[in-house]
């Protein structure tokens, strides 16, 4: 049996919230459903005090249900107040798209950091998502890493909504600020030559400054690697640290080009591990940050 996102959020909260918190949330959702904006603004703020801030305790099955209810939805990092806030937002009347947009923007403009994280993650479940592509791009300009990650990580909206230019900027910025690439949904699907060029340039800047090159970069750069990029990879594959060698092997294996094979042969042992699936991008990302 499949569930809607609202049903799932309600169940998860029911499992964990106190009776008082649950009753408070029900009352607030009713008020918000009448279009009462003051209730929305206050209850959105007060949610953590009323239902707590604990992590949602989700099982594998819950996560599968989530992905079925909304493809790309990965709520494994969500907290109970976040779930409550999203239910409040989902209660808001949405027939009038301009009014709905204006209310959401008001919340975005006045949100503190945890609230912004919640709002960016909430959009994937809300109506009129297409109105928020500028808001997503604007959000990625933040200096606050956790806000950036609420957009870039475990969120299908950038993959679905962003133009190529905005997408490329988001991936490059992730590398700049030390945010992992692996949790970006659609990362391998939306690789493109312009992005690969930007990343190679970035790798050269880092090399000139004698700063380390983020290892995940090669995953996105390799599919469109030019001669120079292949030289870089060849050099790092020969003399880099173990994590760099693993990342380059994995990146080269996935390109399946003749040039890549030549490089891989220079260190067949790591190449074999990459080919056998003994190295994964997830592990590399986990070790890198």
């Amino acid at each position: 049996m499949s569930y809607t996102p609202v049903q799932l959020l309600e169940n998860w909260i029911l499992r964990q919230a106190s009776d008082a918190g649950q009753a408070w949330l029900d009352t607030q959702r009713e008020a918000v459903a009448t279009g009462d904006l003051k209730s929305l603004y206050m209850s959105f703020g007060f949610a953590p005090r009323k239902v707590g801030k604990a992590d949602l305790q989700l099982t594998e099955r819950d996560l599968n249900d989530a992905a079925e209810a909304r493809p790309g939805w990965m709520p494994h990092t969500w907290t109970i107040d976040q779930a409550a806030r999203v239910l409040l937002l989902m209660s808001l009347p949405s027939e009038d798209d301009a009014a709905f947009y204006a209310t959401l923007e008001k919340l975005f403009q006045t949100a503190e950091i945890r609230e912004q994280i919640c709002l960016y993650q909430a959009l994937q479940l809300l109506p009129h998502q297409e109105l928020f592509d500028d808001r997503l791009c604007d959000g990625t300009r933040t200096n606050v890493k956790s806000i950036f990650e609420s957009i870039a990580h475990n969120n299908p909206l950038p993959m679905e909504l962003m133009s190529e230019q905005s997408w490329n900027q988001m991936v490059l910025k992730a590398l700049f600020i030390g945010a992992a690439l692996d949790p970006i949904e659609g990362l391998d699907r939306r690789v493109n030559p312009e992005l690969a060029r930007m990343l190679i340039d970035f790798a050269h800047e880092r090399r000139a400054a004698k700063r380390p090159i983020p290892v995940e970069l090669w995953r996105v750069a390799a599919p469109f690697a030019d001669e120079i990029a292949l030289e870089d990879m060849k050099a790092l594959y020969a003399s880099g640290e173990q994590l760099e060698q693993s990342a380059i092997a994995l990146a080269l294996v996935s390109t399946a080009s003749d040039e890549a094979d030549v490089i891989l042969k220079t260190n067949p042992e790591i190449a074999k591990r990459a080919e056998n699936g003994e190295i994964t991008w997830r592990e590399i990302a986990q070790q890198a940050y």
């Binding site: 206050m42 703020g45 005090r49 976040q82």
Partner: protein
Amino acid sequence: MKFIDPHIHVTSRTTDDYEAMAAAGVAAIIEPAFWLGQPRTNVGSFQDYFSSLVGFEKFRAAQFGIRHYCTIGLNSKEANNEALAEQVMEIMPLFLAKENVVAVGEIGFDDMTALEEKYLRLQLEMAKEVDLPVLIHTPHRNKKQGTYRSMDIIEEHEIPPHLVVIDHNNEETCEEVLRRGYWAAFTIYPKTKMGNERMVEIVKKYGPERIIVDSSADWGVSDPLAVPKTGNLMLERGVPEEHVELTCYKNALAAYSPSGQFEESDWLDPEPIDQRTLFEGNSVLRGGQAPRVDKPEDDRIIQ
């Protein structure tokens, strides 16, 4: 020794100040919403200012190992622009419930006009509605009358004195403020409000109970280290250590803890670092428990 500066306008200060404060032992600060010097002409300026108090400034402070809290309110000077004041009152519900908001404030009198009184009263009622303490700004001119009048109004609204901090006291006002049961805060601000030698004498005379020391450091000539400097001077001049702890740390904690948002465990026992997306920003902050001062060995070299 650890300190709390429960009244400082760090939006106006640089990261050098944050580093110095952390090094001097300041663990937590409260930034009351106040006047920016340049009068605001529209509600958007207030909205962005409040947003930075509950958002970016909290983030910035934490990167230097300092926990940042704030109070939200319409200040007394700008209460005199009625059209604007009305709009500010309308957006306040968007901010009062934010997680680092520990009081409604700073509100009160400047010129002691009817409009100042109107918005003081409205905001006192708002504080009751959201169950938050109140921070009162007392005027520079006609201070004694302004202070007494503020307390009379608070009593008319039946807010218990233990939920109210009366700030910017001096030798003339503190006796009555303490007698009526309020928290009496003192601003150590060069040349104007209170010097720290005078402060030492006040603590010696009245004892440490319900007395709070702060800096109010802002965009003017002021000192973000006023609280640790005063605490250290007290010790030097023979004030017992537990009295210094009360006036420069514990009383502020007790005064603002009824908000439910001001807990010592936030800075003494931070949540463990959590690598997942939602808390990674926070883990960056908590990683800054010890102030991060990345000074190169040779400071002529910029890496």
